[in-house]
Symmetry: C2
Subunit: 256 residues, 2 copies
């Protein structure tokens, strides 16, 4: 019964929070039970995003912005990424992929929040709690300030050293090509085989379809896709996929 | 640097813990930094299981048994399940599925840790920290003591009421048929169309392949599969899949 009361209080807290623009206004009245309930609520939201049960959200729920912000700047987020990359390394070291040495063994990476972090942009924009302004994000991207995700960089170098051909398939638009390449090189990435960005025609379709189409192209060219590392489920879905995919956590935004 | 020290201590703690049979022996010496590092480590393990990056584990890592046990008996686990089911309800209420009224609209459920909870068994068996003894688990299953997952039961009734045909596709073996049906009925489930269990021949193949084969059978019979609710990625993988799938959390065990 005590727990039910806790949930009731928590739920009331959420209702109130939805009706008020800034959750922080309520903070002085938040009981620890409400805070516990809110943490439960936001953690459930986050895990269900990662489970791909919650799809296509435009913004992080207002009441979870603080929670998501904390996670994205935490040692937990770094540890979660590290573990995902460790599993990719394990996949390689267990002899996942018998490379033929014909230059047709491919590995695919996403760019944003996979190779480089765009969390610094979101930090200034309410951690996903406000609707994305593409113009403003692209302006930021043109400044080439996205830092490398250290673990992914190390893995990228490992993959390249093993003789895979690396393809970067991103939902970034074609007009960002030179900034994107500049940013990647600046933070230590080099030696990819192809940087695939969205052409105007691709902007008419869902990112998931555009990425699957790009993979179809690679397979037609004779490439064998051994793995994909990305932060969005839309980077893996559709056919052809890869022998293994590795999903990095990302509760900031959803790309369909 | 403080954080690095924390990780170093945590890592040392993990090394020690791996070498010692019972982590609890070490508890008096665990500093709060080590505890924090261990929590990070186990949370990363858990999220990477849910992201399907960590596959095919036989046991929960020894040092995370306490962490997993806490989660599986927490209000967080309940809230996570509730949210997953809420998303399934949302999918229905948004007009996901235009039922034709020809009795060919299908919905699939897993059984264990989807319709009913087998956490009570794992509670007595080190929360996934010891290798599964199938004989002992099946003995427990024959006692029909698995309680319903309340939210899934409500959703099951909702689905049935809307006119879907319900198929239960489980990795339980055929010899458990009557116990399984008894247990399900006892806790409130009724009105499913078919209970599909693993025949002897099916035991030779991976569960993922057996479940895909069962779905192939349904599609051949003319069924349209609108949704699957399950706790294992192997319940969704392979073709045909469903229009939408809903993954319930489960860090206790992995079914390939």
């Amino acid at each position: 019964m005590g727990k039910n009361l806790g949930f009731l209080l928590a739920f009331t807290g959420l209702l109130i929070s939805s009706a008020v623009a800034d959750w922080n206004i309520l903070r002085p009245w938040k009981s620890s039970l409400v805070q516990e309930g809110l943490k439960n609520y936001c953690e459930s939201w986050r895990i269900n995003v990662e489970l791909n049960n919650i799809k296509g959200f435009d913004v992080v729920p207002q009441e979870c912005v603080e929670f998501v912000g904390k996670y994205m700047t935490s040692s937990q987020y770094k540890a979660d990424i590290e573990r995902a990359i460790e599993e990719s390394v394990l996949y390689l070291s267990k002899g996942c992929c018998s490379l033929k040495g014909d230059d047709k063994d491919a590995w695919i990476f996403d760019i944003d929040d996979t190779l480089v972090s765009i969390v610094p942009y979101y930090k200034k924009h309410h951690f996903g709690g406000e609707k994305l302004n593409v113009t403003s994000l692209e302006e930021w991207m043109r400044k080439n300030r996205a830092p490398a995700l250290r673990e992914t960089l190390r893995f990228f170098n490992d993959i390249r050293g093993r003789g895979f051909k690396i393809f970067l398939i991103s939902s970034r638009r074609e007009c960002l090509r030179s900034s994107t390449a500049d940013n990647l090189i600046k933070v230590g990435y080099h030696g990819w085989t192809r940087l695939i960005l969205r052409k105007e025609a691709d902007e008419l379709m869902e990112v998931q379809k555009y990425k699957a189409k790009a993979r179809q192209g690679l397979v037609k060219e004779g490439y064998r896709i051994w793995g994909i590392v990305g932060d969005q489920w839309s980077s893996f879905e559709g056919t052809p996929s890869a022998k293994r995919t590795f999903k990095l956590p990302n509760p900031l935004y959803y790309v369909s």
